[in-house]
């Protein structure tokens, strides 16, 4: 178990290194020094600023050395020009005069909050409806649930979002306009400000879970051992929940891992639809603001979360299925 974990963590680190190296190369070397400086300097760039940027980026050094400075900075901190950038230093945004790590840390709670609420909602509802559909397969409940899943899953967020805002905020006044408040300030405001995006994300994501839960459970129900369970006199509920759902967990966790990875690294469309300033929006503004260091930071963060989610899923496999050996 421990060996597996260490090996996997090393694997994750290796992949992250490769990903960041490629990104680093594409951002800071592929397009030539002048364009890198231009793209890192922000929209309103004066010639002096340009010189500072050029100097601070250290673009004259060989690529690998630049990369090494970037990576070691993450772990040890570094100085960029006269600015100190402490651990974990993801670079400095000249366009906004901000430490990249600070900006990321600033935006991160928004993205995480968006993700947590949405995951909780679409997971419980999606899986719940899926179980219900499997239990009543072929019956009305099943048809309604799967039909609903088909419909809801096919609406894109940029259509659903404005529609929900129009309907629930402007017309019915049931919900607040999406807004991020800190959880620690006021949990209620936090939740009510994010309710609408949560419901939108739930509507879109739960379809997958309904279908997946239903179909894997139906598969499990045709396994031989389910017949044994019935022959033991177990009630329908234990057969479905304790056993069939248990057997359906692995594929659900797989998809969940992907979804959480995606949501944690910031969904650009969702955040811009609801004008929430999370990691996704940060990625957008760093592009429009000509802020390469910020982009680099966002990519590293997004890749890390995706990899981490993957690792957690792999560990969960072993918890869920005793036949999986971690080796």
């Amino acid at each position: 178990m421990l060996r597996f974990l260490v090996r996997r963590l090393l694997g994750v680190a290796a992949i992250l290194l490769v990903v960041s190296l490629i990104t680093f190369y594409l951002f800071f070397a592929a397009s030539g020094e002048d364009s890198v400086v231009r793209l890192s300097c922000g929209k309103n760039c004066t010639p002096e600023m340009r010189e500072t940027v050029r100097h601070n980026l250290g673009l004259t050094k060989p690529l690998l050395e630049q990369y090494w400075i970037f990576i070691s900075g993450i772990f040890a901190g570094r100085n960029i020009g006269e600015k100190t950038c402490n651990f974990p230093c993801l670079g400095y945004s000249f366009a906004n005069n901000q430490n990249v790590s600070h900006t990321v840390a600033d935006r991160f709670p928004t993205t995480v909050s968006l993700a947590i609420g949405a995951v909780v909602l679409f997971m419980t509802l999606g899986i719940g409806l899926g179980i219900l559909a499997a239990m009543r397969r072929g019956k009305k409940t099943d048809k309604v649930a799967t039909g609903f899943a088909l419909l809801s899953g096919s609406a894109p967020i940029y259509v659903l979002g404005p529609l929900f805002i129009y309907l629930f905020v402007q017309q019915l006044g049931w919900m607040d306009r999406p807004q991020y408040h800190q959880f620690t300030d006021d949990p209620f405001q936090w939740a009510s400000g994010l309710l609408l995006p949560w419901i939108c994300l739930m509507t879109i994501h739960m379809a997958m879970y309904v279908r997946l839960t239903r179909s894997t459970m139906v598969d499990v129900l045709s396994e031989d051992y389910v017949r044994t369970l019935k022959a033991k006199g177990l009630s329908g509920r234990s057969v479905y929940i304790k056993h069939a759902f248990r057997g359906a967990l692995s594929p659900i966790v797989t998809v969940l891992g992907v979804d959480i990875g995606v949501l944690m690294s910031g969904t650009i469309i969702t955040e811009s639809t609801f004008s929430l300033h999370g990691i996704g929006m940060l990625a957008v503004t760093s592009v429009t603001d000509s802020d390469l260091p910020m982009m680099m930071g966002v990519v590293v963060i997004a890749a890390s979360f995706t990899m981490l989610a993957n690792l957690v899923v792999d560990l969960l496999y072993a918890v869920i299925d005793p036949r999986v050996r971690l080796s």
Partner: protein
């Protein structure tokens, strides 16, 4: 009618027929048996039509005895056993006839009540113990689950009971093995665990559907020994399904030979194996080289192929494959279904006269059996 002189207590075909037409009174004549199945019919609605998987099956199982059911693949053995436990999809299955268990009718019993019987008074072990056990729970948890379900035991009592059962079925180190998952067990161990699970609530009837087919010969012999010992100890009635007559010879007291969802011959093991009276049984037996030997040779199929259950042949379902239909005068075999006496004991479903059966067996069949 020639058949009426059958020396082996075969009821005359004619009489059996009237008895059957008379309905309920005749059907109830075997109901003092612990488990009595009468004229069972199980028909599945499928896209291709109605599959008549069981089509007129009758047998009895007595307390402390083992009834072996033998027949080719597809003859309806598993379907019959699952019907006893009411495990078919009720909407797609038409079930007729009578299944009386300890004086209670099972076919019409509501699902809730049946559930209380399953695993408690009637339990079942299956052919492949790997797929028949859940991979997600330990062997101990799966044994304890039955015990808790039916006897309301708490977690630790049930756990202790699981250890006790594992010990009783001969699993070494039961205290540690109880926490293992099925995939940690060998095939024979798994089947022992399955047996432990099925016996955890002291059932009165154990249905074993080919419990040793997936095991190698030595392990098979051990499992059969174990089942016999446990039967001696607990007096459990066993319904033992197999397509291996060698296993029947070792295991069963009584035998029922099934063909195309019907009973074609029944009797004690001695009677059926030493003095078989039905052409299909003859076919089964002559495909086995040596009955008394310990090596169980899997059944070689009888000439021809099993009949379609969607459109079974009219008359005797065995007639397209039977060498002796001409002796009867083929017409009768092709049109009139032979019936097996509903009463207990010995019987065959065949139009051949008792003399013909005797003669053919002695002249044609016996020389083939080692």
């Amino acid at each position: 009618m020639a058949a009426s002189t059958d020396t082996t207590a075969d009821q005359p075909t004619g009489k059996a027929e009237t008895a059957k037409k008379a309905g309920a009174p005749a059907r109830s004549d075997g109901s003092d048996a612990f488990l009595s199945v009468r004229d069972l019919r199980v028909h599945f609605s499928t896209d291709d039509g109605v599959v008549k998987a069981v089509d007129g099956l009758s047998f009895d199982v007595e307390k402390g005895r083992t009834l072996g059911i033998v027949g080719e693949s597809g003859s309806g053995k598993s379907v019959s056993s699952l019907t006893i436990l009411g495990l078919h999809n009720r909407e797609k299955t038409k079930i007729e006839g009578e299944i009386r268990f300890d004086g209670r009718e099972l076919i019409t019993m509501p699902e809730r009540k049946l559930r209380d019987l399953r695993g408690r008074r009637i339990s079942m072990i299956f052919q492949d113990p790997l797929t028949a056990l859940s991979p997600f729970y330990t062997v101990g948890e799966q044994i304890a689950e039955s015990y808790r379900r039916h006897l309301g035991a708490n977690r630790s009592d049930a756990h202790a009971r699981a250890i006790e059962m594992l010990d009783r079925v001969g699993i070494p180190n039961p205290k540690t093995r109880v926490n293992d998952y099925p995939h940690h067990f060998s095939g024979g161990m798994r089947q022992r665990a399955m047996i432990a699970m099925s016996l955890v609530c002291d059932p009165d009837l154990l249905i074993a559907d080919e419990p040793t087919t997936a095991l190698d010969v030595t392990v098979q012999a051990q499992i059969l020994d174990l089942l016999r010992d446990l039967q001696d100890e607990f007096g459990t009635a066993i319904l033992f399904i197999t397509h291996d007559l060698g296993v029947i010879a070792q295991m069963a007291h009584d035998v029922l030979v099934m063909y195309a969802g019907r009973s074609v011959e029944k009797g004690t093991v001695r009677e059926v194996l030493k003095n078989p009276r039905h052409p299909y049984t003859w076919g089964l037996l002559s495909s086995m080289p040596n009955l008394s030997g310990d090596v169980d040779v899997p059944l070689r199929p009888v000439r021809g192929t099993p009949p379609s259950l969607l459109a079974p042949p009219p008359g005797c379902p065995f007639h397209p494959r039977c060498d002796y239909a001409d002796v009867v005068g083929g017409e009768r075999c092709r049109t009139e279904p032979p019936l097996l006496a509903l009463s207990e004991g010995r019987g065959t479903a065949c139009h051949l006269s008792a003399e013909d059966k005797q003669r053919i067996f002695i002249d044609d069949v016996r020389p083939l059996l080692g």
